[in-house]
């Protein structure tokens, strides 16, 4: 029983990481109806960049690297959106899907070329093994708990930006009606760039936390994209807190699957996703309007 509760608990904390993966995907889809198929590969890129910066600067903590990584990824997201993705947006959904799929192939093989196929891990130091006792023989790792707190903070700030700021109002207006928002003076190409930049900030944070949690390699991107996507669909399109909840449900499913048999870890996650899709096609926490 204790092992089972333990695995549920680790599922919740793993799921918060998936929620972090998914928040950027969810934001970009909400604002410009774009699904970035290379999303997972950018998370891997962020993890590798953190690793490279660690080597170059000699600073021990990968979390310090976020001070470089966050602005860098924001700029990368903004430029990529303006130069490559904005021209592809339009009524034809085929083009953005295929272009981001192409980007995924480019990033993945570029990482393979630059960092080889070897597994890597970010060394987080003492925090990796530290834990907080919960009583009854249960303990929760400090790092997973920090990940959950960070996921809540990231999604909370995105929610705050969306609903409490001028930028958020423009983003929501564009999401509701692109043409009218443009007529009201919203500079949509710039706004899309900002949204993509914010998504890349979540990617940077997700990359560092996932890199400290477990080892990763250049080909991990597609799996992470799929987890992010499943979290978004389970949670319901257009709801950021729903996305976090979706990630946590996915994390629990995987942890319970792994508890039954290691082979079942991934499969259980996918099965829960497919079942959710069958019975709750709009997700468990759909946005009220629509």
């Amino acid at each position: 029983m204790k092992a089972f509760v333990d695995s549920i608990l680790s599922g919740v904390l793993l799921g918060s990481l998936y929620g972090l993966f998914a928040s950027g995907l969810s934001l970009v889809f909400g604002v410009m109806r774009l699904v970035n198929v290379a999303h997972g590969d950018f998370i891997v890129l962020a993890a590798f960049l953190a690793l490279a910066f660690q080597h170059v600067t000699g600073i021990g903590s990968p979390f310090v690297m976020l001070t470089i990584l966050v602005p860098l990824m924001f700029v990368l997201g903004y430029l990529l959106q303006r130069a490559v993705l904005n021209p592809a947006l339009g009524p034809d959904i085929l083009r953005p899907v295929l272009i981001t799929f192409g980007l995924s192939v480019i990033v993945q093989n570029g990482l393979l070329q630059a960092f080889s196929a070897d597994s890597q891990k970010l060394q987080g130091g003492r925090i990796e093994t530290a834990s907080i006792p919960l009583g009854g023989g249960l303990a929760v790792g400090t790092l997973p708990l920090l990940t959950l707190a960070v996921a809540v903070a990231v999604i909370g700030s995105m929610q705050w930006v969306l609903y409490r700021t001028r930028l958020g109002r423009a983003l929501r207006a564009t999401s509701d009606d692109l043409t009218t928002a443009g007529m009201m003076g919203v500079n949509t190409p710039h706004l899309f760039g900002i949204a993509a930049g914010i998504a890349m900030v979540t990617v940077a944070v997700a990359g560092v936390f996932t890199g400290v949690r477990a080892s990763f390699d250049a080909s991990a991107g597609p799996a992470w994209l799929i987890f992010a996507f499943e979290a978004v669909i389970i949670g319901g399109l257009g709801s950021l807190w729903g996305t976090l909840a979706g990630g946590i449900i996915l994390g629990i499913a995987q942890a319970v699957g792994a508890y039954i048999s290691p082979a079942w870890q991934m499969l259980a996650g996918h099965v829960v996703f497919l079942v959710a899709l069958m019975f709750f096609p709009r997700g468990l926490f759909p946005r009220r309007s629509e």
Binding site: P91, P96, A223, I226, L267
Partner: protein
């Protein structure tokens, strides 16, 4: 539109000449089974398998509006169905091959019921999840070699023959036949009323629905048919390779190659994938040794073409010179409109793009 004499045509002189040329080319290709050497035959076999895959992906994405990133699901299923029939049921190669098609079609139906709940890009990733699920399941099936895969015995491979023809020639003819059937079937489908319904769905789902198109059943039929065809192609490819493993058979790169060929050649035309497959094979011949650089180059080429030349090589040429070798669109000819006659394309897609 006050012209008094109008008629709707699908053919043109170019298309009739092209039809004739195609027949001559097919006869020449058929004869290759008799005179080409084994290396050439196996390269040609692979070419026609890839062509069939590209044409089917094009039918899904370019005509039915179903952008799938999970076609490797059906390719892998077809391969595994063949191996299962050969190794565990003791079937002959032909029966095992046909089973692959049946399995592809049967699995496509429940898959469609799930993924068709998603739309656009989400549908694309949904199909990918299905392929992942199959990869994980086949990694656990011990009787089919689990994660490390399984081989076909040489005896089975040698039993693939037809009269005096050895295995390479038979596989080549099967691949050629498959590609031709896929192209011909797409051509006939797209020229039919059902094909018009299909493109109407792609261009405007709501409009098509309100015009009485039964969207779900049309999409389902196309998805099942391509599931069958992709399964058969997978069976052929793995009958040639003689070894299958889950990570190779359900590799998303299969779909990457399909997309590359279709995008380079031109989405939404039957000629485009032929051009794209040729380009792909030429690039592969020269670049495959470069390892990951090869895939980076393919990716860069595909993204650039998608941004600069969204209609692909064939689509751009065809538009510039107004040619169509296998015309699927309907044209209205105005016979009173002066010399040469005014032409109007009556198909939805051209109207939407212009």
């Amino acid at each position: 539109m006050s012209a008094k004499m109008t008629k709707v045509v699908q053919s043109s002189r170019t298309s009739r000449v092209a039809g004739l040329a195609a027949i001559v080319l097919v006869l020449a290709l058929l004869s290759a089974a008799g005179w080409a050497d084994r290396g050439t035959l196996s390269l040609l076999m692979e070419f026609f398998c890839y062509l069939a895959l590209a044409e089917m992906w094009n039918l899904l994405a370019g005509f039915a509006g179903i952008v799938s990133l999970g076609q490797q699901a059906f390719l892998g299923l077809g391969g595994y169905a063949l191996f299962f029939a050969a190794l565990r049921l003791g079937w002959n190669p032909l029966a095992a091959f046909l089973l692959a098609g049946v399995v592809g079609a049967i699995i496509a139906v429940p898959s469609a019921l799930v993924v068709f709940r998603l739309h656009g890009a989400y549908l694309a990733i949904g199909t990918w999840v299905l392929a992942e699920v199959l990869r994980l399941i086949f990694s656990e099936v011990a009787s089919l070699g689990a994660g490390s895969g399984i081989s076909l015995p040489v005896k089975f491979a040698k039993s693939v023959r037809l009269g005096p023809m050895h295995r390479d020639a038979v596989l080549y003819l099967a691949a050629l036949g498959l590609a031709l059937i896929v192209i011909l079937a797409s051509y006939l489908l797209l020229r039919s009323e059902r094909g018009l319904a299909l493109t109407a769905i792609r261009d405007n789902e709501l409009g098509a629905r309100s015009s009485g198109v039964k969207i779900f059943s049309v999409k389902l039929a196309v998805f099942a048919a391509t599931g069958m065809g992709t399964g058969l192609t997978g069976a052929l490819l793995y009958l040639a390779k003689l070894r299958i493993s889950p990570s190779a058979a359900f590799d998303v790169n299969w779909t990457s190659y399909m997309i590359f060929m279709v995008v380079i050649g031109g989405v939404g035309t039957l000629e485009g994938p032929i051009v794209g497959t040729l380009v792909y094979f030429v690039l592969r011949q020269y670049l495959a040794d470069l390892g990951s650089w090869y895939l980076i180059i393919l990716g860069v080429v595909a993204v650039t073409v998608m941004l600069r030349l969204p209609m692909g090589i064939w689509g751009t040429v065809a538009r510039k010179y107004d040619i169509s070798l296998f015309p699927t669109r309907r044209r209205v000819l105005f016979e009173e409109a002066g010399s040469g006659g005014g032409e109007l394309c009556a198909e939805g897609s051209s109207a939407a793009q212009e």
